[in-house]
Symmetry: C7
Subunit: 94 residues, 7 copies
């Protein structure tokens, strides 16, 4: 992985539709067109972020659900990723 | 349950109309079309959330009333859930 | 009472028009159509709410005046209640 | 007085136009139609309000100037009062 | 002076156009129509204001420049004053 | 200099176009019409400002770049100055 | 480098399109027209910024991804730079 996020940011990679069907998780309603399940590929160091202590709760490899519209999309070596704040991650799927 | 919420988030499952009639709780006015009673199915760890100490006050199995429009809806293994912050839960129904 | 409010929330029941005439309190102006006097029927535990220490100042049975539009209305066992934050209560009527 | 304000709230009674002429204070401009001079009739306990320590600086009987549009109007035993936060009181007139 | 400001508020009296010409200070642009130079006539006690310690930096008699639109205008014994927060005072003119 | 800024405020004087050409700094795009390079002519004491400790990082004589639209313009003894908060200063030019 | 940023600000220089192709990073969607990859050319001292302790996590020479629309553009000695807050930097590219 070539992107190291700062502060409480996390880099995630959206899961393909077929993987999502396997894990059995689908998002409903307006969220349908834009899948919100992803895998964590890099995690920032946390610590003091805007004057508040942030402890990172996710780790590389976690499957996560995240807020629609959260984060910024980037493409690294031809693959697309999203960089977002940990607080925009709703839950870990186990 | 396959979804583990982060921070002060809670996963709830809306109660069906017939259950609500039994417990005797109905929401009035504009809220009528969208029931706000639900059962807690998963609770985040709480702790430091955005620099503030949050203690979780609800537990799995609690029947709760929550703020209309709060949270994000997800579907896991064919069942629909809502993930929201504990602060969007108004009260526990006993 | 079957509803236990969380944090600094309070459950109140609006007083009927005739009771209000007895206590001698009427709201003026735009507030006229929507009475703001109520009786407290349940009080949250207070404590740390959004990172701030909140001490509950009202108790069950208090007659209170509250901010118009504050809170959410619910119906329990056929009776209507309003759940609001203690900070939306302006004063106790004695 | 039958109304006991909560937290840092204060109950005031607007002074009649004739009294204001005596004390020599008149408000100018857009404020003209709505007098802003009043007498304090009840004072909340102060203390921790929304996580901040508030010390009450006004006392019953003080003549005060307050921010236009601040507060909520109520009628108790046929008399009109305004309930507002102490921070909406600009100054004490001596 | 008959007006005692609360908290971090300050009572100022706008300087007449002729005085301003003497001190050599004129405001430019949109501010031209509304002079922003004034003399301090009363100073609040400072201390804890909205949970923050405020130290008063201006004293009675100071000539000050203040933010346009800041504060509320009042008339006491036929003279016009402005009550504003110390933070709306930009600088002391010496 | 006749203007002493309060708190974390700074008084600056815009540099003329010819000086800016010499130092080699020009602002691009929409900022072109309104030069943002200036010289510091007075610095507030810093300290507690709105409840936060502020340390002044600029000194009289510094050439600075500042945020467009920041601050208030005043004219003292026929010269134009801008009063702004130190946080609106982006960088010192050396 | 002639520009020393204040507080938690960072001066960056956008990377040319050809350099970006080499590192293999391209931004997608609406961001396409405005590259968000840049090299850090100067870093502020950090420390107390608006009452919060900020530790600088980037250093001169780092390749970074930053938020679209963040920062202010300046031209120094004929070269264009952007000054932005460290919090607007999403990640370091390695």
């Amino acid at each position: 992985m070539k992107v190291r996020p700062l502060g409480d940011r996390v880099v995630i990679k959206k899961l393909e539709a077929e993987e999502k069907t396997k894990s059995g998780i689908v998002l409903t309603g307006a969220a349908k067109e834009r899948p919100q399940e992803a895998e964590v590929v890099a995690v920032g160091p946390g610590g003091m972020v805007e004057g508040k202590e942030v402890k990172m709760e996710v780790k590389v490899g976690d499957k996560v659900l995240y807020s629609k519209y959260a984060g910024t999309e980037v493409k690294v070596d031809g693959e697309e990723y999203t960089i977002l704040k940990q607080d925009d991650i709703l839950a870990v799927v186990e």
